[in-house]
């Protein structure tokens, strides 16, 4: 297992994702002899996981069962331990495409946060690209570096514990893309420009507030960035369900000659109709942040 390469079988030392049910998953570090407690009972790593195929059904001690999934950056995003606000897959997918990431891309990122985006970047730039990620919070920088190793992507990433607004990304003229998720992105725009290749590249800044976007756009324009394009993407989840709609009873139809237009074949006058449809969740994320993209021209 690695976050950038599929394996067929679960091995000692892997990180696996236990699927407990819809929207309910947990990551597990697979260790010979270890056990994991779930609401369906205990999973014994040596017998239940190691040597099993990813995707297998595992019966827990209480008789309930779960599926064990191969980790992906997307599964990691929904199961990782939150040390900060994180970026979710909808924004991540947009960032990946709009930054034009692909195998071989060199990317700078700050802040690393809980590493949600970092894993997705690493997946996309592997096996020949590199991620330089800067996190000012020391505890977090250490923790995420440890996770990268556990997820076998450590060779693709350099974690730096410094203040990107003061000290930049620690590299110059090497990046194809730069991503900013910091409170004052406009203070780091100059460093972003310096980190990007002379031939140009793409930059993205994520900010929840429009004032941050305004200042960042100003700084980007001032630094000569082009195609400055702020946008927002929201995910809408459609819950599939079967609903039953009762039919109204308008009373006996006196004029039997002309059947009323509401008479339905095969359904009694006084019944209901079942219907496959989707419903919107009562509440949904109304905003995560604005994504401001721009292109650094050749300099």
């Amino acid at each position: 297992m690695s976050f950038v390469e599929y394996s067929d079988f679960i091995q000692d030392g892997d990180v696996a994702v236990v699927y407990l049910g819809h929207d309910s998953m947990m990551p597990v570090k697979v260790q010979q002899g270890a056990q994991t407690q779930t609401r369906y009972g205990v999973i014994r790593h040596s017998t239940d996981l190691i040597g099993q195929r990813y995707g297998s059904k595992v019966t827990c001690s209480k008789g309930g069962w779960v599926h064990v999934l191969h980790p992906t950056p997307e599964l990691w995003t929904v199961t990782l331990p939150h040390r900060t606000q994180i970026l979710y897959t909808t924004d991540i997918a947009t960032i990946t495409m709009m930054l034009e990431l692909k195998p071989g891309s060199v990317v700078c990122e700050s802040g690393t946060g809980s590493g949600s985006l970092s894993h997705a970047i690493l997946r996309t730039v592997a096996p020949t690209g590199h991620l330089h990620t800067v996190e000012f919070h020391q505890q977090r920088a250490e923790k995420v570096a440890e996770e990268f190793k556990e997820h076998r992507v450590g060779h693709l990433v350099t974690v730096r514990n410094q203040d990107v607004c003061k000290d930049g990304f620690g590299v110059t003229g090497v990046a194809d893309a730069v991503f900013l998720d910091i409170p004052s992105p406009w203070e780091a725009v100059g460093h972003a420009k310096a980190a990007l290749k002379r031939q140009g590249g793409r930059v993205c800044s994520f900010s929840p507030c429009i004032e941050q976007v305004q200042k960042t756009c100003e700084a980007l324009a001032h630094q000569g960035f082009e195609e400055i394009s702020p946008l927002e993407v929201l995910l809408r989840v459609h819950d599939v369900r079967t609903v039953s709609l009762p039919l109204p009873d308008f009373g006996p139809d006196a004029s039997s000659a002309q059947t009323p237009p509401d008479a339905r074949e095969g359904t009694p006058r006084y019944g209901s109709v079942a219907l496959k449809t989707t419903t919107a969740p009562r509440e949904m994320p109304g905003h995560t942040g604005y994504l401001t993209f721009a292109t650094k021209p050749r300099t």
Partner: protein, 470 residues
């Protein structure tokens, strides 16, 4: 609505008034009754002290009673906050708050008010000053929600009640969001002096909104399914008494008979009226809205009447009661008959000015049935939580003709936080407020009944085969 000064009783809370309690974004509709305990946001209190106070006043809840608050006291002193620029120095050790849960309980027992407790919490948080302004704001909001105990009493309005139902019990109003209701009232051109048909299972919210918009002028006919018209939501509007004179209701189980001209509402034939009454009884258990209108006191009275002693006496009384009930029933039936006759005559002309449908029923048969009561050139609007049944309505109407300007729409509503350097859309939004099908009736060619009414569009605008509407 001239400015009559504060003496105008419309600005003063009176006993018996329908009011709305408000805290933050939370609303609750309630009637002001003496010594009636009210639960709101997990707190118990009496409204008695509110009587005689002005509407829109804010009160503090102090040991179960309302205590008027000075205006402006509510506002947090957000300017006084001292904010860090980022949160790099915050180490999450779970120990940043020095006040324990027990400390807070002690503060509450000492009679500290919500605002004061929050200030205590801020003062005792070692990390508060290091948090970003954004995070500080979140913190205060969270704590406010937990410890504040003020309540504002509002005069009900369509806006407030629609927001209340949507926030508290969207299931009761078929997930009709307030902006969708707003669209319906406007698209149906609801206004004073018209004759409007309403078919709803939204607890009476739609009915009340229509009545408010008509200001007591014109007539509203509530078409209702078996079990009687649901009106709790309409009552919450606290509309002036004379507004109720314009309200009529008609059970839809007589629609076919009325349309066929076979509905007999004369005194001779009671069957139609009686059938309706029986059905109401039969179906009551299927009507959650109706059941909830029965107050707990009434229920307990019913269950406590049985007593094993003095059986004879009871039997006698029971007979008397039965007789009295039979007489009562007769009078009621006669009243009902008169009412039914009146509303039938309103409908018979098939000249209503508007139709609003928002119900848990399949909208297609409802719409096709009730549309027949409209004059030509009048608007109608149907709401449904689901899109598919409205697609069916649309298709049927296109096939049948007699309508133009058909549109299937929904609206997307977004609220914003606008604060210095912290402006953004709210992080949570409603998933959906339902779909609307709206249109306008037109005269159908009565010269050619039935037959090929399909091409209701002007000739040069032929449809492509796969497009129902261009």
């Amino acid at each position: 609505m001239a400015d009559n000064g504060d003496d105008d009783p419309q600005y003063t809370i009176k006993e018996g008034d329908h009011v709305v309690l408000k805290r933050g974004d939370i609303f609750k509709a309630i009637q002001v009754l003496p010594k009636k305990k009210v639960i709101f946001e997990k707190q118990w209190f009496f409204l008695d002290n509110a009587v005689g106070q002005l509407y829109s006043s804010t009160f503090e809840i102090v040991s179960g009673n309302l205590q008027p608050k000075k205006p402006k006291d509510t506002e947090g002193s957000s300017d006084a906050k001292e904010a860090g620029t980022d949160n790099r120095h915050i180490v999450d050790d779970g120990k940043s708050q020095k006040l324990t849960r027990d400390d807070i309980e002690t503060l509450k027992e000492q009679g500290l008010k919500g605002q004061e407790i929050i200030q205590q919490l801020i003062d005792n948080s070692s990390t508060f000053r290091d948090k970003t302004e954004y995070a500080q704001d979140k913190y205060i909001k969270k704590k406010k929600k937990k410890y504040e105990n003020t309540v504002t009493i509002l005069k009900p309005s369509c806006r407030i009640l629609a927001m209340m139902y949507h926030g508290r019990e969207p299931g009761k109003i078929c997930h009709l969001r307030y902006d969708a209701l707003a669209q319906m009232l406007t698209l149906a051109n609801i206004h004073a002096g018209s004759k409007v048909l309403v078919f709803e299972t939204c607890a009476g919210l739609v009915l009340g909104s229509v009545m408010e918009r008509m200001g007591g002028y014109g007539s509203v006919i509530q078409m209702y399914p078996g079990g009687g018209p649901g009106r709790a939501g309409m009552e919450s509007f606290g509309l002036p008494a004379h507004f109720h004179d314009m309200l009529h209701d008609f059970p839809i189980c007589h629609v076919n008979a009325l349309l066929a001209g076979t509905l007999d509402t004369t005194a001779k034939d009671q069957s139609a009226v009686e059938k309706q009454s029986n059905m109401a009884a039969d179906e009551e258990q299927n009507q959650p809205e109706v059941k909830q209108q029965v107050s707990p006191e009434e229920k307990s009275m019913e269950t406590n009447t049985g007593d094993d002693a003095a059986l004879d006496q009871e039997t006698k009384e029971r007979d008397q009661r039965r007789e009295a009930k039979a007489e009562e029933k007769k009078v009621k039936l006669e009243e009902k008959r008169k009412k039914l006759a009146a509303v039938a005559s309103l409908l018979e002309g098939r000249n209503a000015d508007g139709l609003i449908i928002a119900s848990r029923f399949h909208p297609c048969p409802v719409l096709m049935g009730l549309l027949k009561f409209l004059s030509p050139s009048r608007p109608f609007v149907v709401h449904s939580q689901y899109k598919e049944p409205l697609i069916e309505c649309y298709t049927k109407l296109r096939e049948q003709g007699g309508t133009v300007n058909l549109r299937l729409t929904d609206t997307w509503l977004r609220h914003y936080q606008v604060l210095p350097n912290r402006t953004h859309p709210l992080l949570l939004m409603s998933g959906g407020g339902g779909y609307l099908l709206s249109g306008t009736t037109v005269a159908t060619d009565r010269a050619k009944p039935g037959g090929s009414q399909r091409s209701e569009e002007p000739a040069p605008k032929r449809q492509k085969l796969t497009d129902t509407e261009g």
